[in-house]
Structure formats: structure tokens, C-alpha cells
């Protein structure tokens, strides 16, 4: 072995010893600050490199070949610039002290090594050092030492390089990697010890009980607070024991049940439970149990955390009692104030001068607001203290919505906001407390009205989010919710801006209460809003499916949801529309409600309806106008209309002559039997598209021949008596009537007054008729002069063209 190899190997041994020394003293220095440790590392490496130079064997005069560069580079790599500076300064001083013609080369080598170390320190500053990093570091230091050889004066360079490059670079590499690995392990070990110490301190000093049990319920670890809570001598006394060793059997069994359930499901358990404390007092513990998992993810134990919340519970209770008492005490004087102001404002005590009346109005409005505020505060308190009782029943949601709409009918009458009801989930049911849900809907509706522009429409939609959830949406066309307010909207006493409290009224508690209620019902509440305007609030509730009607999983969201025939109820009184809707529902129809002409027209444009029930005296408007508009519009102009009105007869007269397509006229209150018949007419229209002819005739033979003459493309109803004719007219709609006059129980002409004006009439009778019978009697034919087939031909020419094949045979013109 050449001297240089020998010298460098000796050096390598020195390096190992040095790292060992560094490791030993680190137990002491581990407590020093990071900067101090860096300086110490620098100092150690500086001493190491000096020793390395001092022990190197000289074999080129003036030059020293040793392993100082791995030591100096490692100082920079692991200790940063303070270590690098100290190490480099020590090494440079000693090298200059030794002097000789290699001094400059030596100093340059030290600077190169120091720079490489700092460069690596900077590269991996924000992550853990990997073995790869350390190998690259070794290569870089070795390459640096080779580059350093190039600074040797050219006169002796060739000979020196030839002898030194291999041992120097290879052992520099080995040295650098060795130091790197050893220092890295040591730094990691120290970090781990630190972390451990911090965690131990955290758990030890925690005043709350924290412990870990295995899946059999035996303690694996516990902090002192656990020992105190369980009246054990120390935390060590708990290890290997279970709750059964410390608690009464029943209690321990209950804890164990909770834990077994958690081990099975893996669900985190949070529970507030009454507890008996070591000092004998009773209180409350908030308990949190989390599964302990091994690396494969399977549950191997339970981590339990217990916190004494006796104080909070007591405070909350005191607060609730205080709020409850204060609110009730406030209500008594408020009864007098509200009562007095209400009576004066209503004019019971006589007319006031305008200025006084205005002041009384202000005082009255604000006393009303105070009543609402106190009610809301009490509700909030009830919800928070868990005292609000929920009586859950399986109920259809629509009637609750209808009640809320009716209750809001007179809210802010000046704003003139209409509420449209669209029902895409008829008969949808959920488990709800109707009073509480009513409260939620009232709140959402009153908000929507408050924030709607004057005269606008609020749409309430009952629909489905998916097959398991129904959704009630309240849609307004207001200004939208300001961005900054969206996050706080369900908070307490939150309103978009302070001025809106005065302008819009309300307590700022409504949405917070609504959210609490909906969540208690197992649902969710949310909203979507646009800066440009319009807000949708939606309440989602878990739907209960009736097994026979809607099997879960078969709901096709795109198809018409109920497959039932849909009727539009045009009615401004919520109570009445609810009654009509219920009657329609019983008859198998689903329905939407439009409270005014504009929204009825809007709905007719976007949705398909089989019929329309029309309140002829809609608030401040005339239903007749709507009727005429519909007939003139391109959307479903032929829709059958059932007029419902308090003044049906009067309206009937005023519409005389233009009442095409009116199926029936119903008086308020609606007679279910009459509505049933009217709906029967609509139903037959929808199912049987063929033109309907009523043939009133007591001669069996004439009926038979006529029937053959008309063929299968016409639906014929026979009436053999006047009474049968009357019944047929009242229960069905006909396009045309063939009328015999001489009937067993009276004159067929009596039927003309009951017949809808759009039904055409052909009189086919044995006797000549010369009376004037009105324009709808298209022909009067005498049995002796015309045959049944002549009549049939005329009838076909008068009937609307059908889609069947044979319609081409019929001349279309009238």
C-alpha cells in the first residue's frame, strides 16, 4: 500500500472517532439552541480537520493530502452557515500556519468543501435528508477535491495528480458518505427524542383524561389525569387493567358496550355523560372515543378522551333559565303595551290626528317586533337547551306548505308579492313535526317576500333532489344575498346590514332557528344566490316512500315525476286553493297553484296542464281577462277550464257567447261532487281523443243505425230519456249532440239550456220544428225527410278532424 493510501485510511479512522465523540457529547448539547449546536458542530469539524492535517503523512513537500474536506463539507451540510464558517475558519488558519507551496491549494480546497456543504444544506433545507442526498453529497465532495488538484502549480502538477487522484477522490467519497450517514442518523434520533419528549409532556400535563386501551378493554397507556379520575394510585397502576377494576359493574359494562360498538363500526363516539368525580361531586364529562388503528388500518384499540364540562353545563343551564325568565317577565308589560297600541292604531279609540297616528303606528310596529324577537329568543333557547319537543309524524308536505303560504297571504300587503306553488312531488311524505316545519316555511316565505321587489312573484317548488330526498325550494327575485353575508347567514342575530333591521324588520334569528329545526328533522337547509339577483332557499328532507306507489330506486328524475294529470289552480286565496288541491289529489290529479294572472300565464308557458281551475275574481283582477288571454295565446289555448267563483252565475252571463272550453261553473264553496263530475269530463277528454257525440233518442232502431253510420272514429253516448240526457251533459263534455225532441219524460229542447255553448247541436226529430233555436243548432232535420245516414254524414262534417286514418274521408270544412 502506498503511503498516500495509508495516510488517508488513518484519516478515515480519525473521522469515525470524531463522529463518535460528537454523538457522545450530543446528549449534553442537545438542550442548546440550534445556533449554538451549529457552532459546536463547526468547532468539532474544525478540530477534526486540524487533526486530520496534523496526522497526514507528508509525501509531496509543502502539500498535505488528507480527509479534511468531508469534515468541513459535513459541517456546512448539517449545521448550515455558522458551522461551515467555524469549520472553514479553523481549517484555513491551521493550513496557513503550516504554510509551504501547497498552502493556496489547501485553502482553495477548504473553501470548495465548505461551499459544497452549504449548497447541499440549501438544497435539502425544507425536507428530510435521504440516503440519495447523502450519496450525491459524497460524490460532490469527491469531485470538489479532484477539482482542487487542478490548482496545484503546473511545475509539479502532473506527477502529483497521477499518484493522488484515485485514493484522494475515493476515500473522500467514502469519508463524506460515512460522516453523512452517521450525522444524519444522529440528528434524526435527536429529533425523535425531542418529539417524544414533547408528546409525553403534552399527555402528562393535560388536565383532561386521555388513555389508550386495547381491543379487549385493557389499558395500554394513560395519563395522570386518567389515574386521578379513576381513583388509581398512578397511571402505571392502570396498565393491564380495565374499567371493571375501577367502576361499578353496570357502569363499566355500559362503557364497554360503547367501546365494542365503536370497534365494530369504527365510528367516532362523542357523548356528554353525567359522571361522579373523585371528590364525590356529580358533574358532566364530555367523552370522545376514537378507534386506534394499526398500520394496516384495522382497529386494535380505543383512544378515549374525557373532559370535565360540569362548569359549561351549569353555565349553559343558568343562561337558559335566565333567558326564559327574562323573556316571560318581559312579556307581561309587553302585553299592556302591545294591547294599548294595537287598539289605538286600529282606531278603536277614535280617529287620531295624522302626526299622532303616525307615531302610534311606529310604536305599534315596534312593539310587534319586540314580541317576535322575544318569541324567537325563546325558541332559540328551547332548541339549544334541547327543550323544544318534536312530535314526528309521517305526513305529506304539501298541506304544510299550503298553510304557510296562506298564513303569509297578508304579510306586507304593500309589497304586493304573489306566491306561486309548483308541486313536482305530489303526496311526498316525510317524518316531520308539522308545527315546526310550518315555522320554517313561514320564515323562508316571509324573508322571500321581504326581499322581493314590489309586485314580484315568489315561487315555492316541491320537488325531489334524488330518490331519497325531497326538496322544498323558495325562490325569490330579490337583490340576492351579498357575498360577505353568505357565510354568516345562518348565524344568530345576523342580518345583511344593520339598516335592513329597521327597513325590513325581523329579528335576525329566523334563519338560525329554521336551520336548527330542519336539522332536528334530519334534513338540511341551504341556499343559492346570484350577485345579479334572485335567491333560492331549499329545505331537503328524507322522503318516506309509500311502497305501493313509488318503489325506491325507480324514480326517473327526468320523466314527469308522478305520471298524473296536472291541473293548474288559479286562485288567490290559499285556503281555497288548498281545498281544491286536496279534492284534485283525491281524484288522482296533481296540481300547481298560481295566485294571479301573470304567474298563471307564466306557468302555462313552461308547463303542461290538462286543465285549469279559475277563480274568476282574482285579487283586484278579472279572471275573465286571463280566460280571454289564454284563448288568444299560443300556449295550450284550448285548455279546458273549470270556473270556480263566488258569483258563478253572474260571471256565466257576462262571459256569454265566448265561454269556449269551459267545462263547468262551480260555486264557492266548492262542492266535491260537482268538481268530481267536471274532472270526469277532463279525464275522458284526455283518454279518448275521439270526438264525443251525445245522441238523445228514445227509438232503439234509430240509435243503432246512427251508430253504424258514424263509425268507430266517433265516441257515442246514448241517452234514451230527458233525464239521461241531463245526466250525460252534467258529467261529460260533448262536441256535438244529436237531439230528438219528443222524449218519454219531456222535450229534448230542455237540454239546450244546460249544454255548454261550444257543443254543436243537430235536431233530428219526427216533428217539424220551426222555433228559433240559436246559432249552435247547426241543422234541424226531420226523420221523414232525411235518413240516419244523412245525419251521420253531416255530423262527421261538423266534428273536429281526428288523427285516425279514416279522418281523410271526412271533409274538414264546417
Amino acid at each position: 500500500m502506498t503511503p498516500i493510501w495509508q495516510s488517508l485510511f488513518t484519516n478515515l479512522a480519525l473521522v469515525s472517532i470524531l463522529v463518535g465523540v460528537w454523538d457522545l457529547q450530543s446528549d449534553v448539547t442537545g438542550r442548546f439552541s440550534e445556533r449554538m449546536q451549529s457552532l459546536l458542530l463547526g468547532l468539532t469539524m474544525s478540530i477534526g480537520s486540524i487533526a486530520s492535517m496534523a496526522t497526514a503523512q507528508p509525501f509531496v513537500p509543502g502539500f498535505i493530502f488528507d480527509l479534511r474536506s468531508p469534515l468541513i463539507a459535513a459541517a456546512g451540510f448539517f449545521g448550515g452557515w455558522p458551522a461551515a464558517a467555524v469549520a472553514a475558519a479553523g481549517a484555513v488558519s491551521y493550513r496557513l500556519y503550516l504554510g509551504g507551496q501547497g498552502a493556496v491549494t489547501g485553502v482553495v480546497g477548504i473553501i470548495i468543501a465548505s461551499s459544497v456543504g452549504l449548497a447541499f444544506h440549501w438544497i435539502v433545507r425544507s425536507r428530510e435528508k435521504t440516503t440519495g442526498d447523502i450519496f450525491k453529497f459524497g460524490v460532490a465532495v469527491a469531485v470538489g477535491s479532484l477539482l482542487n488538484l487542478l490548482t496545484i502549480p503546473s511545475a509539479i502538477m502532473a506527477g502529483v495528480i497521477a499518484r493522488t487522484w484515485l485514493p484522494l477522490s475515493s476515500l473522500t467519497f467514502v469519508g463524506a458518505v460515512m460522516i453523512g450517514i452517521l450525522l444524519n442518523r444522529q440528528f434524526r434520533g435527536r429529533e425523535l427524542a425531542n418529539t417524544n419528549m414533547i408528546y409525553r409532556a403534552m399527555v402528562r400535563e393535560l388536565p383532561d383524561s386521555l388513555n389508550v386501551k386495547d381491543s379487549a378493554g385493557l389499558f395500554l397507556a394513560a395519563n395522570p389525569a386518567t389515574a386521578i379520575l379513576m381513583r388509581a394510585g398512578s397511571a402505571d397502576d392502570l396498565i393491564g387493567k380495565s374499567d371493571f377494576d375501577f367502576y361499578p359493574h353496570g357502569l363499566a359494562e355500559r362503557f364497554r358496550r360503547d367501546e365494542l360498538a365503536m370497534i365494530q363500526t369504527g365510528a367516532i363516539l362523542r357523548v356528554d355523560q353525567p359522571a361522579l368525580f373523585p371528590d364525590g361531586t356529580e358533574g358532566w364529562l364530555a367523552t370522545l372515543k376514537v378507534p386506534l388503528r394499526d398500520e394496516a388500518g384495522s382497529i386494535v384499540g380505543i383512544i378515549t378522551y374525557n373532559r370535565d364540562i360540569t362548569e359549561q353545563k351549569r353555565n349553559a343551564q343558568l343562561k337558559n333559565e335566565f333567558i326564559s325568565t327574562v323573556s316571560h317577565e318581559l312579556r307581561t308589560p309587553l302585553t299592556s303595551i302591545r294591547g294599548s297600541l294595537g287598539l289605538i292604531a286600529a282606531g278603536v279609540t277614535g280617529e287620531l290626528p295624522p302626526k299622532a297616528a303616525n307615531l302610534v303606528r311606529i310604536a305599534h310596529t315596534n312593539s310587534e317586533r319586540l314580541v317576535l324577537l322575544i318569541n324567537d329568543i325563546l325558541d332559540m333557547e328551547k332548541i339549544e337547551s334541547g327543550k323544544m319537543a318534536f312530535e314526528l309524524r309521517r305526513l305529506p308536505i304539501r298541506p304544510i306548505l299550503e298553510q304557510a303560504i296562506a298564513a303569509n297571504a297578508n304579510y306586507l300587503p304593500d309589497r304586493d308579492v304573489k306566491i306561486v306553488l309548483v308541486d313536482d312531488a305530489p303526496r311526498a311524505e316525510a317524518n316531520v313535526d308539522p308545527d315546526r316545519l310550518h315555522q320554517v316555511f313561514i320564515n323562508l316565505l316571509s324573508n322571500a317576500i321581504k326581499f322581493s321587489p314590489v309586485g314580484e312573484t315568489v315561487t315555492v317548488e316541491l320537488g325531489r333532489r334524488d330518490e331519497n330526498w325531497m326538496r322544498v325550494s323558495v325562490i325569490d327575485r330579490g337583490a340576492g344575498i351579498p357575498e360577505a353575508f353568505r357565510k354568516r347567514i345562518f348565524g344568530k342575530f345576523e342580518q345583511a346590514d344593520a339598516s335592513s333591521t329597521r327597513e325590513k324588520g325581523g329579528t335576525g334569528l329566523g334563519l338560525s332557528i329554521a336551520k336548527s329545526i330542519v336539522e332536528k328533522l334530519g334534513g338540511t337547509i341551504g341556499f343559492e344566490t346570484e350577485d345579479s339577483g334572485g335567491t333560492v332557499f331549499h329545505v331537503d328532507l328524507p322522503e318516506i316512500h309509500s311502497k305501493e306507489t313509488t318503489p325506491a330506486g325507480t324514480v326517473d328524475l327526468l320523466a314527469p315525476i308522478d305520471h298524473r294529470t296536472r291541473v293548474l289552480i288559479c286562485e288567490d286565496e290559499g285556503d281555497i286553493s288548498a281545498v281544491i288541491a286536496a279534492l284534485l289529489d283525491a281524484e288522482g290529479f296533481s296540481s300547481d297553484v298560481a295566485p294571479d294572472i301573470a304567474s298563471a300565464k307564466a306557468l302555462l308557458q313552461i308547463r303542461q296542464y290538462a286543465a285549469l281551475t279559475l277563480d274568476i275574481k282574482l285579487a283586484g283582477e278579472s279572471g275573465i281577462k286571463l280566460f280571454r288571454d289564454i284563448r288568444a295565446s299560443p300556449h295550450n289555448p284550448e285548455i279546458p277550464v273549470i270556473v270556480i267563483s263566488a258569483v258563478a252565475d253572474e260571471t256565466k252571463r257576462s262571459l256569454n257567447g265566448s265561454a269556449v272550453g269551459i267545462v263547468d261553473w262551480l260555486e264557492k264553496p266548492v262542492d266535491p261532487e260537482r268538481l268530481h263530475m267536471a274532472l270526469g269530463k277532463i279525464a275522458t277528454r284526455r283518454i279518448d281523443r275521439r270526438p264525443r257525440v251525445l245522441h238523445v233518442e228514445d227509438d232503439e232502431g234509430v240509435l243503432e243505425v246512427m251508430s253504424e253510420g258514424l263509425g268507430p272514429d266517433v265516441s257515442i253516448t246514448f241517452a234514451r230519456t230527458l233525464r239521461e240526457g241531463q245526466y250525460a251533459i252534467s258529467s261529460h263534455h260533448f262536441d256535438l249532440m244529436i237531439l230528438d225532441i219528443a222524449l218519454p219524460d219531456g222535450s229534448g229542447l230542455d237540454l239546450l239550456s244546460d249544454l255548454p255553448s261550444e257543443t254543436a247541436v243537430i235536431v233530428f226529430s219526427a216533428a217539424d220544428v220551426d222555433e228559433k233555436l240559436g246559432s249552435r243548432v247547426k241543422a234541424i232535420m226531420t226523420k221523414t225527410k232525411a235518413s240516419e245516414l244523412d245525419v251521420a254524414k253531416l255530423v262527421k262534417s261538423l266534428l273536429p278532424v281526428t288523427q285516425s286514418d279514416s279522418s281523410s274521408e271526412v271533409s274538414a270544412g264546417k
Binding site: S324, H328, R331, T332, L334, T335, S336, I337, R338, G339, S340, G342, L343, A346, V348, S367, V371, L378, K382, K387, M388, A389
Partner: protein
């Protein structure tokens, strides 16, 4: 047909307002009592059609008054409605279980009180 309404409340102001509110209905004849004792005396002579009874009164509170009314055969059939600021669900349930036919919340709307009382009187009226 007139209905005789007895209003029992220890608060003078509220009695006065309640009387004005109830008398907005011309069919109501209203008498006032300031305590349960007074009410028990009044009912035997006057035989009202309905009694509106405050809950929180000194000496004899509303529930006790109701109990005594129900115990006497001559007054047991008179429907009693509580009028109270205590309207939590469990409280209302308790009042109804005592035999009250209804509970009206304070503060009441003075313009709607008569209507509400009329509705209750109709539902629970005698004969």
C-alpha cells in the same frame, strides 16, 4: 246571542285592555276579576259562558282556580281558557291536561283576541 265572558287577571292594565279587545265583538258581555277568589264568587251568580284565566296570580294561581272550578258541580262545565306568557310546549300541554279548553299566548293581539275567544267558545260552548 250574547256570550258572557269572565276575564281573570291580577294585572289591572291587562284587564282593561282585554276588556276593550273582547268588547270589540258586540256579542260579548265581559266581566273582570282580579283574583282567583273573586272569580270563584263571580261564577256562581253570573254563570259565564267562558272563563279566561291568567296563570300567574298571587295567592291562588290559575291552575288552582281551575281545579276548584272543576271540583264544584255548578261550575265544572264552564270552559276555561288560560291566557299566559308561559307558552312553552310542555307548559301548554300541562294546562290542557288540567282541563283547560285552550291556551292563549300573551302578549295577545288585541284585534284578534275576540275572534279567538269566539272560536273557542263555539267549539266548547254549552248546549
Amino acid at each position: 246571542m250574547t256570550s258572557k265572558i269572565l276575564y281573570v287577571d291580577d294585572e289591572d292594565d291587562i284587564r282593561e285592555i282585554a276588556q276593550m279587545s273582547l268588547e270589540l265583538d258586540p256579542e260579548f258581555e265581559v266581566r273582570l276579576c282580579s283574583s282567583g277568589h273573586q272569580a270563584l264568587q263571580e261564577v256562581t251568580d253570573w254563570q259565564p259562558d267562558l272563563i279566561l284565566l291568567d296563570v300567574m296570580m298571587p295567592e291562588m294561581d290559575g291552575p288552582e282556580t281551575l281545579r276548584r272550578l272543576a271540583a264544584a258541580p255548578s261550575t265544572a262545565a264552564i270552559p276555561v281558557v288560560f291566557i299566559t306568557a308561559r307558552t312553552q310546549t310542555h307548559e301548554v300541554a300541562r294546562f290542557l291536561s288540567m282541563g283547560a279548553v285552550g291556551v292563549i299566548a300573551k302578549p295577545f293581539d288585541p284585534m284578534k283576541l275576540a275572534g279567538e275567544v269566539k272560536r273557542l267558545a263555539k267549539m266548547h260552548g254549552r248546549g
